[in-house]
């Protein structure tokens, strides 16, 4: 299921304590640059950029380039896939109806 993989991606993105700190910092600000995130983080700007890429691919943060800077902000619904079974089964049943359609075609002779 695609949904499970998305949840796993989010979990993996937050599993790293440094990355989790980066995410928490973004979530508490409106927008923030890589330079600001690097300051006081104890890791290099390159490392922060890598973490940002992972967070972005997990759908947790969005970026907005402006001039020489790139601003990062938290995706409001980024954590929503963790919300429960409903999104999982929503996709599940829709997919299953497709199978029912195929099987009916096959057995109706």
């Amino acid at each position: 299921m695609i949904q499970d993989e998305h949840v796993n991606t989010i979990m993996r993105a937050l599993a790293d304590p440094t990355r989790r700190k980066v995410y928490e910092r973004i979530a508490t600000t409106e927008e923030i640059t890589v330079a600001e995130l690097t300051r006081g983080s104890g890791v290099t700007q390159g490392a922060v950029s890598q973490h940002l890429k992972t967070l972005r691919l997990a759908g947790l943060v969005a970026e907005r380039p402006e001039g020489r800077n790139v601003y990062y902000r938290a995706e409001p619904q980024g954590l929503a896939p963790l919300a429960g079974w409903m999104s999982h089964y929503d996709a599940f049943w829709r997919e299953r109806f497709g199978k029912i359609r195929d099987i009916l075609k096959e057995i109706d002779t």
Partner: protein, 158 residues
């Protein structure tokens, strides 16, 4: 096919509703929902299923955390070619998202449509909203609730 993910029952729970008209007789649609081999193809291999009220059966799916992936079901209502209802339970309270506690009801309803076709309606009801739904919205500070909660589970993903 219509799909109303947020159809609600007015209470604390929500339902998924999927509906489609199939150009086939109700008997045939019923067979797809109640024949062990066909259920295997539509859903998963059932263990112990019979379209008889009271029958307990299981499905095995992907485990998560402390949940072994077993879905426990019990047939609640059978009206041949019209209605099939079973409970659908699984998960574990320690999990969140996929694998969290699940106590739901699956209702299949069949009704005649034009030209001998069959309208099939699935309602999967009883989904409890997360205790605090806003916990999952980052902007309302949800990360403060969510991240500490999932932190103990994150080790598995290292």
């Amino acid at each position: 096919m219509t799909d109303t993910a947020a159809a609600n029952t007015g209470s604390q729970t929500r339902s998924i509703v999927v509906e489609e008209v199939f150009p086939h007789a109700p008997e045939l649609v019923w067979k797809v929902l109640t024949d062990g081999e066909l259920i295997t193809r539509v859903l998963m291999p059932p263990s112990g299923f019979a379209p008889v009220p009271g029958t307990q059966f299981t499905f095995r799916t992907k485990p998560a955390g402390r949940w072994d992936g077993t879905i426990q079901c019990q047939v609640l209502e059978v009206v041949p070619c019209e209605k099939l209802v079973y409970s659908w339970k699984g998960g574990h309270a320690d999990n969140i998202g996929y694998g969290s506690l699940l106590d739901t009801i699956v209702t299949w309803s069949l009704s005649p449509a034009a030209d001998g076709a069959t309208r099939l309606r699935l309602e999967h009801g009883g989904f409890e909203l997360p205790r605090n739904e806003t916990a999952f919205t980052t902007m309302s500070g949800g990360w403060k609730t969510v991240v500490p909660r999932i932190a103990p589970l994150l080790d598995e993903f290292d």
